[in-house]
């Protein structure tokens, strides 16, 4: 579907079996959309629910009234859900979000401002500067003062742009260095669709693979200062846990992080 001039941002959010975790995610998402619209952006939201359970479906019905389009699909694959939603997107930009996370309310508005300020001819993917991985298990060591328990599982990750002096595309051979939370022109997603999960062949990890492919294709990855993505640490059910359990590798046909031609374009912090 082609971009419609009066839509600035399409928010693509994917759900599957988040259950009650979808409630805070949807409320946080609503804040994001409100903050984005307050900055003047015209925002549409497309949600996909892939093979959902009854609880997740009900939560979407009761908490997702602000979502313009809800697509119930039978893909069993996050990458396919995103690609499907991107095809439906009418916004000039698309933001991809996961349905069990939360976001600092500035993320969407600031990412849009950064993207609008960027060179219109350049291909740039924006990420939040900070990731905060929180864990419910930390209630057991809840600290009342300034210092957390030594056992705290929550942690921060500060993301770096591809123009950062410490960035090296070969890092992507060993670790994923950008989360799935991405904001880019919609045509970037269409040029680089997410690779599908292939259990039989042991490959998947759509966001990591996408980061490698976009970097290889000369797309810059940038970070938006003062923004944060809150990621729930789950022992099971999350994609990260699935990737670990199934011992998946990235899927990037014909390319490798070792053969990325110059990847030091774009804007950093």
């Amino acid at each position: 579907m082609k971009a419609v001039p009066d839509i600035d941002i399409t928010v693509v959010v994917t759900f599957h079996r988040e259950g009650p975790f979808a409630i805070p995610a949807l409320r946080s998402l609503r804040d994001l959309v409100v903050a984005g619209r307050a900055e003047g952006a015209k925002v549409e939201v497309i949600a996909t629910i892939d093979r959902p359970d009854e609880v997740t479906r009900r939560v979407l019905e009761t908490e997702g009234s602000f979502i313009g389009r809800v697509e119930i699909v039978d893909f069993g694959d996050l990458a396919r859900c995103r690609n499907y939603a991107v095809d439906l997107a009418r916004g000039r930009y698309t933001a991809c979000l996961d349905g069990d996370d939360l976001w600092g309310e500035q993320w969407l508005a600031k990412a849009w401002q950064e993207a609008e300020a960027a060179d219109p001819d350049s291909e740039v993917v924006f990420h939040p500067e900070w990731l905060f991985y929180f864990s419910e298990a930390d209630f057991a060591g809840h600290a009342l003062g300034k210092m957390p328990s030594g056992d705290a599982r929550s942690f921060f990750m500060r993301q770096q742009a591809s123009c950062d002096p410490l960035f090296d595309p070969r890092l992507l051979a060993l670790q994923n260095i950008w989360s799935a939370n991405a904001f880019a022109r919609t045509d970037v997603y269409r040029t680089y669709p997410y690779r599908l999960f292939d259990r039989q062949r042991g490959v998947g990890i759509e966001d990591w693979s996408w980061n490698i492919e976009t970097i290889h294709g000369g797309v810059a990855h940038s970070v938006v200062p003062g923004t944060v993505h809150l990621i729930r640490q789950k022992s099971e059910g999350s994609l990260g846990a699935q990737n670990f359990t199934e011992r998946l590798l990235t899927v990037t046909p014909g390319i490798t992080p070792w053969s990325v031609p110059g990847a030091r374009a774009g804007r950093g912090t």
């Binding site: 805070p24 409320r27 946080s28 804040d31 939360l102 600092g104 309310e105 500035q106 900070w130 990731l131 905060f132 929180f134 864990s135 419910e136 930390d138 809840h142 600290a143 003062g145 300034k146 210092m147 957390p148 328990s149 030594g150 056992d151 705290a152 599982r153 929550s154 942690f155 921060f156 990750m157 500060r158 770096q160 950062d164 410490l166 960035f167 090296d168 070969r170 890092l171 051979a173 060993l174 670790q175 260095i177 039989q200 062949r201 042991g202 490959v203 003062g226 944060v228 809150l230 729930r232 670990f244 011992r247 998946l248 590798l249 990235t250 899927v251 490798t256 992080p257 070792w258 053969s259």
Partner: protein, 647 residues
């Protein structure tokens, strides 16, 4: 020695494995001195893992130089580093060429609270005591400007005093005990070997040892945004309404913090993407290692652009002078990477290893007894096989109750994604029996290569042997036995044979895995003669035959090499020996099993050999030589490897 730690006596760990064993003095000292409560409190990772502190220190803490008690540091030094140091109170032998030193870190309290000017808000005025070494000053200044006394006081209830006293406590004690000086600051003391690119890490030297410090903390507006999400999800602040802002923080590009890998070393180790990767467990003189290196040699000869050998179970420093051994000569033209030197803590890092291997998109990955390599293929093989051909070599199955070789553990785990490779038909049959139903990529048999002697040398040896047999009919019969001295090599069978032939002499060559007593060989007509530098170049003309009693094998190189000495071969019929030898070229005797008297058969065979001379002797020795040349000559090996690789 572990009586004080019951759990320790129940488990085998690295420190008790022969060859990895520190000295008894170290074991005794650590068992007696290590403060378990201190160690667990200072090392949250150990406490979380539920590992016995003594075992942890022996396996990891020693290398990481973790203190063993409050105020007691440890460090590893080589012989060349044994310099006088007033802080060192004990120096004990660790392993060959290495020593462990134990010293007191705070015996002289070089920084006193009264020597420090106020910490905050005039942080830039903090100065160490005048007697502090110059190199300490940089760190003291840095930490002085980032130290938060309130937070330190709050976290460390055992420490009381003014702000200045707290900073002094941190510098004199807390830093060595792993305490955090303030939110957002991470300090690693004593073992800074991380990414040389630095990043958020600043490098210092403190009290004569390396130190790295990092300050990564979210800005206040990000903290506030997170806090506001609490109204949607209370777990966001589970670690504490204020404290959450001070949980650990890393840079995404900081591979050292995230996965313990030294990225700068990774990129230096692999300057180009290799076309073939050969994985070895270690660089030691062993059949599997020789086989893997010989195949790497053929890959180079076959025109592969970049072949690299990755050693997965050993650090370079532990490989010693491997370059001196002839079996490693092909590695003069092949780069060798020691994977464990790329990690922070000598750990496997399986996931990173598998991802790295896969990322090369190498044409071929070949695994030779590398446990990490086999684990990587077992777990990630499906994905790896989408970009590379994988070969996993297996040489023998185990004997019931007598050890478990990788041939028992891994074939079914790797067969779907990997071609199985072996050096003998018997193992190929065993592998086929186990994995045929899986319908994997298949099984290849490539007999090992050996260096053969030229015809003239062989004929000279043959002539002298026949002459000796003819001219010295009443000589005392002498028999050579060459292998690792350990029960699986049939040392007890050899002992039985020797006892049945009290007038013969038996000379034993090879590394002692157990002492002669434990091998059952402490008997009058058996002598231990040490380790041969090379079987091919040693002189066996004074012996009447070569006795090989091994109970389980793949394709033993020693036997193949002995065939070049024009010496009668009396062998247990194990592994792939029957692939090469027949009754015309050697005596093949079934190994002892329950109710089977192999010793008597050996005794009879030795009597037959002792009486051999003339044409019969010459025919047998020439048959053996011809059989080995036909199957194991370098050109035969190269042809089979190339065929396997589709060249």
């Amino acid at each position: 020695m572990f009586a004080a730690f019951p759990s320790a006596s129940l488990r085998l760990h690295n420190s008790l494995i022969p060859g990895k064993r520190p000295s008894v003095r170290v074991l005794q000292f650590i068992a007696r001195t290590l403060d378990r409560e201190y160690y667990l409190s200072a090392n949250a990772d150990v406490a979380a893992a539920g590992v016995d502190p003594v075992l942890h220190w022996l396996d990891h803490g020693a290398k990481e130089e973790r203190p063993i008690a409050a105020g007691l540091f440890t460090r590893m030094v080589s012989s060349g580093g044994l310099l006088p140091d007033p802080e060192v109170i004990h120096t004990l032998p660790w392993r060959a060429g290495q020593w462990v030193q134990i010293g007191r870190i705070s015996s002289n309290l070089p920084i006193r609270a009264q020597d420090l000017t106020p910490v905050r808000p005039e942080a830039d005025t903090v100065r160490p005591a005048t007697d502090t070494a110059d190199e300490d000053r940089r760190f003291v200044d840095w930490i002085g400007s980032h130290f938060e006394a309130d937070a330190y006081r709050e976290t460390n209830k055992d420490v009381i005093g003014s702000d200045h006293a707290l900073l002094a406590h941190y510098l004199n004690h807390g830093i060595f005990e792993g305490r955090r000086p303030s939110p957002g600051v991470t300090v690693r003391y004593g073992n800074y070997t991380g990414d040389e690119r630095g990043g958020s890490w600043q490098k210092f030297t403190y009290r004569g040892r390396p130190l790295a410090a990092s300050l990564v903390a979210p800005p206040e507006d990000v903290v506030q945004q997170i806090r506001r999400q609490w109204r949607h999800e209370s777990a966001v602040l589970a670690s504490g309404y204020t404290a959450f802002a001070s949980v650990n923080a890393y840079d995404a590009v900081d591979l050292w913090s995230r996965s313990g890998l030294k990225f700068d070393r990774v990129t230096k180790a692999f300057p180009r993407v290799p076309q073939a990767v050969v994985l070895l467990e270690f660089l030691g003189v062993g059949g599997a290692e020789k086989y893997g290196i010989d195949i790497a040699d053929v890959l180079v000869a076959a025109g592969y652009d970049d072949v690299i050998v990755v050693v997965t179970g050993q650090r370079e420093v532990d490989a010693g002078n491997w370059e001196d051994y002839s079996i490693f000569s092909p590695l003069r033209s092949i780069p060798v990477v020691f994977w464990r030197d790329l990690t922070d803590d000598n750990e496997d890092r399986l996931d990173a290893f598998a991802r790295l291997l896969s990322s090369f998109r190498a044409k071929d990955i070949l695994v030779f007894n590398s446990r990490l390599g086999l684990e990587a293929v077992a777990r990630y093989g499906r994905g790896m096989a989408t970009v590379s051909r994988i070969y996993c070599a297996f040489f023998s199955m185990g004997l019931p109750g007598r050890g478990v070789p990788y041939g028992e553990i891994f074939p079914q785990k790797v067969a779907l994604s990997s071609r199985l490779l072996t050096d003998n038909a018997r193992m190929a049959a065993a592998l086929k029996d186990r994995v045929a139903a899986l319908d994997g990529p298949g099984i290849h048999v490539v007999p090992p290569r050996i260096g053969t002697v030229d015809e003239a040398t062989f004929l000279g040896r043959l002539r002298r042997r026949c002459h000796r047999a003819r001219t010295l009919p009443d000589r005392v019969r002498r028999w050579a036995w060459v292998s690792r001295v350990e029960p699986l090599k049939g040392t007890h069978l050899l002992a039985q044979i020797a006892q049945m032939r009290p007038h013969d002499r038996f000379d034993v060559y090879g590394p002692l895995q157990v002492d002669m007593d434990a091998a059952g060989l402490n008997i009058p007509n058996v002598d231990y003669r040490g380790v041969l530098e090379s079987v091919l170049t040693a002189n066996f003309e004074g012996y009447d035959g070569f006795v090989f009693t091994s109970l389980t094998e793949g394709m033993p190189n020693t036997v193949l090499e002995m065939s070049q000495h024009a010496i009668p071969l009396i062998l247990t019929d194990v592994g792939g020996l029957r692939d090469t030898f027949s009754k015309n070229s050697a005596f093949l005797i079934d190994p002892p099993r329950e109710g089977r008297d192999a010793a008597s058969e050996f005794d009879a065979a030795l009597s037959t050999v002792a009486a051999l001379c003339g044409d019969a002797l010459a025919a047998m020795l020439m048959d053996a030589k011809a059989a080995v040349s036909a199957r194991h000559a370098p050109e035969v090996f190269q042809s089979l490897v190339e065929e396997m690789l589709g060249k």
